[in-house]
Amino acid sequence: MTSLKRYWRFWMKNLSLELQTEMMYKANLFFKMVSFIIADIISPLVALLIYTTTPGIPGWTFEQFILFQGSFILIFGLAHLFFTGFPAKVIEAVRDGSFDKYLVKPIRPLVQLTLSSWDIEGVAEVMTGLALVTWSMLKVGVAPPSLLLYAALIALGCLFIYSMLVIIASMAFLVVKSWALYDIMFKLSDFGRYPLTIYEGGLRFFLTFVFPIGVVAFYPADALVQGMLANALFKVVLPVGTVFCAALLLWRQAMRKYTSAGG
């Protein structure tokens, strides 16, 4: 319990540091926030244009599709706010030889890195995602108890992104240009911007079992629309749990292999 309390205090301390840093360039912070809201609002706008000129995406009304997009934005927003930045720190630290500093502090390296990766810009994305989700939920009509399960599915989505980031961070110890994996992962995540049901054949298999972004972004909204949340939870827990365990194992392996460099 004391260690949890310690983690919490460490996390909050880092939040205050992040806030102080961002306040250095207030205009930039403002534009960053606005830019994230603009960037996130554009995909629903594209959806609006598609739905006004065509019947839309099969199986999804406009409101349902906005719920889907809102969930995607919310998941990535939360990840951005809490931890997306941490592999960049690992890559940087491994490259310039300063990673050792994480090893000598009295908190596990991974916990330390994760809890010190606040990015306040994420607030803008979380707010946009929440606004879209709330609007569409009111339109679609959702029973309050299912919200809890929906929240669990969103949390699992974040856990999937976290696992991918742990894998990228681990790779920093093994290969040189591991930042490319960052770009590749985020590019692959774009598949999740549209419902899994539009993809066919091998691609669908890939997005379900190999890189389950399709599952992660798809089921929270789909389950809410179809009212099969418990079922969906099972479908998501398995792939995400597998990826998470694999990521942690890889990280352990990387930590063992690390012999310090740079000097």
């Binding site: 360039y25 205009a27 930039n28 912070l29 403002f30 534009f31 960053k32 926030m33 606005v34 830019s35 994230f36 603009i38 960037a39 554009i42 706008l45 594209v46 244009l49 598609i50 006004t52 000129t53 065509t54 019947p55 839309g56 995406i57 099969p58 810009e121 240009k177 490319a180 770009d183 590749i184 590019k187 692959l188 774009d190 598949f191 911007r193 549209y194 049901t197 539009i198 993809y199 066919e200 691609l203």
Partner: protein
């Protein structure tokens, strides 16, 4: 005795070469960005296939499914050719105090970055455009018809000029705001949306399309793509390019005006 002062043209070429060499340091980055091409093509192919099948129509807002996918491929190609990240360089120079150095160069700041960007994009053409073009052609992308080629080259030049000027203007904001990551991102997304990178402009309401035909964004992506695909009549295309050219001049004048103010604002701090 050789002349001390090289001609402007030679200086420009030297900076272009420099830009090319600089970009070689990032060649891996260019390769990685190529990864986005098949991902985008797959996403758009399946998205539009689903929409076309669902609607039961063969043509939506002037595009068949095949043309829709072609549209996105050409948008990406135009995007690679007209790429400019000069705003990022300007921000870097302002924040890290390299501006004095940059101002001492024997070339105006504007020209320096123009030639530098040209050099950097040359590598992009070798690494990105040629492979994408070849793969595209193998998969059934049509080459532009020879008759359209002169117009296409002019359209792409205008697109590149507009994109670079707008990016340069965004960069100058760093003189007042210092860090401009957020502003750069806003610029990128807004341009992508209004220039037709995400959706052909024919999907917008008719009134907005009218307005768009007078805005600079149209000429950054949509017009070159339409000319490539042979979707506009020559006369109409020429008229459009005249408006685009007028925007190039207008934005250039704005750039000069803002630069004068930025120069006055600049205090040389951080040297």
């Amino acid at each position: 005795m050789r002349r001390q002062q090289a001609s402007g043209w030679r200086k420009g070429l030297a900076v272009t070469k420099l830009g090319f060499k600089e970009s070689l340091a990032y060649k891996f980055h260019y390769f990685v960005s190529l990864f986005g091409v098949p991902v985008n093509v797959l996403i758009y192919y399946f998205l539009w296939k689903a929409i076309f099948t669902y609607s039961g129509q063969d043509v939506i807002n002037g595009y068949t499914l095949q043309e829709m996918v072609t549209y996105y491929v050409i948008v990406m190609l135009v995007g690679f050719i007209t790429y400019s990240q000069v705003d990022e360089w300007i921000e870097y120079e302002v924040v890290h105090g390299h501006m004095v150095n940059a101002m001492m160069k024997p070339l105006s700041y504007f020209k320096w970055h123009l030639y530098n960007t040209l050099g950097m994009n040359s590598l992009g053409i070798i690494i990105q455009i040629i492979p994408v073009m070849l793969v595209g052609l193998a998969l059934g992308l049509k080459a532009p018809s020879p008759g359209n080629l002169p117009l296409l080259i002019i359209a792409i030049t205008i697109a590149a000029a507009l994109y670079h000027l707008l990016t340069y203007l965004t960069g100058l904001a760093a003189f007042w705001l210092l860090r401009i990551r957020g502003l750069r991102r806003s610029r990128r997304v807004i341009v992508a949306f209004l220039s037709g990178s995400m959706l052909p402009l024919t999907f917008f309401p008719a009134g907005m399309q009218k307005v768009f035909s007078f805005l600079p964004f149209t000429f950054m992506r949509f017009t070159p793509v339409q000319i490539y695909m042979g979707k506009v009549a020559a006369a109409e295309a020429v008229l459009g390019l005249c408006i685009g050219l007028a925007w190039v001049l207008a934005l250039y004048l704005v750039t000069r005006w803002v630069w004068e103010r930025a120069f006055k604002k600049f205090s040389g701090a951080g040297i």
